[in-house]
Subunit: 210 residues, 2 copies
Amino acid sequence: MLEKLKDAYHFIFEDELLNEINTSGQLKEFKAGEMIIDFGDYLKSMPLLLEGAIKVLREDSDGDELLLYFLERGDTCAMTLSCCLGTTKSEIRAVAERDTTLIMIPIEKMEDWTAQYKSWRNFVFESYHTRLTEMLDTIDTIAFLNMDERIMKYLQDKAKINQDEVVSSTHQQIAYDLHTSRVVVSRILKKLEIEGKIKLNRNQIEVLDL
Amino acid sequence: MLEKLKDAYHFIFEDELLNEINTSGQLKEFKAGEMIIDFGDYLKSMPLLLEGAIKVLREDSDGDELLLYFLERGDTCAMTLSCCLGTTKSEIRAVAERDTTLIMIPIEKMEDWTAQYKSWRNFVFESYHTRLTEMLDTIDTIAFLNMDERIMKYLQDKAKINQDEVVSSTHQQIAYDLHTSRVVVSRILKKLEIEGKIKLNRNQIEVLDL
DNA sequence: AAATCTTTGTAACACAAGTTACGGTACGCT
DNA sequence: AGCGTACCGTAACTTGTGTTACAAAGATTT
């Protein structure tokens, strides 16, 4: 574990802190598709992402979903972060986008480290900052783009996150993430294919325009 | 200034810190409608809200606006906060919603206080948390509500922020904030009036259903 | 009061996106 | 091979929202 940890975080944290994380953190693995956090969960530990990718979702009262953003190595879930501190319920759902390993840090440690390590404080602030920026981007996408553009952006993001220009999703799954209907997705995907931006196959979409 | 400061923040900060804020902070006043921060501004100080209210906007590449949220007494602009730390440009515009007084804190102080005062750290974390929550709410509103509901929510929020059930805005101003057109706003407002939820007058909308 | 400007109301139309419906095609299973 | 299921394509229609156009009502200036 220490190796993976150093691999991902040695730029950010000093050795002493890395060792602390190593001793008090707990390694957890999730298979692609597994749920990591659900709405309303109380969190007693904070996740640091070592490998893989996580997608973070929002849900409304009718159970309709909406993708917020993806998390990659080196990220932490800032929403979780603030939930930990406030011991409030989770406002989001987190699902493993692909096989993922993360370190769970007990929240008791967090306050100590915040007081003690400047690098930890910077990391926490940095995380909040990137998360806020990501949220702004999400808002821009929903508010200012039409569905064609949103789908294209979604595919590009997903290709990037999975480091694979072939996105393995059904039209229905995309529809859930973007809070629209399957028919709309199919229609627009076909249009994008005709425009030469993607190539369609069963369960697979090749993104040509990255 | 110290009085106002204590008035708004004595629950949160210890006396020592309040005194520090008092000596290094600078009082600023803005009239309703004045711009406080614009897109791309570099920030060399962080605002603490003493009195009044601020509205925070986002803008897309075409210059179209969208209201993100309102700030009240005791709030700070978490976007600004993270801009300060990263010394990056402002991603948002902040406009005085009504006459507003705030304290500008030089960013150099912030790091000292973060290391030194637990109450300051808590305040910063708390601010990030409420801001993220607010952003989630904004996303919910845009993604899951239709325009009727968005307008109603907007009016209720605005009435609350200004502590006045009469909202003094033109239809055009509302249209800008919600990123839609004046005609749409007029149409829906008329409908809401017929439903008995509001009462329309020139430049004024009385919110009956708070 | 006349002229002008701002704000609001309303109709008629355009268009993107959501819905319903149904057929076809690939895949897995027995 | 035959059957059932999941996935995809497409047409026809509805709905919500944006657009254009114009007129009327207040407010402001001259």
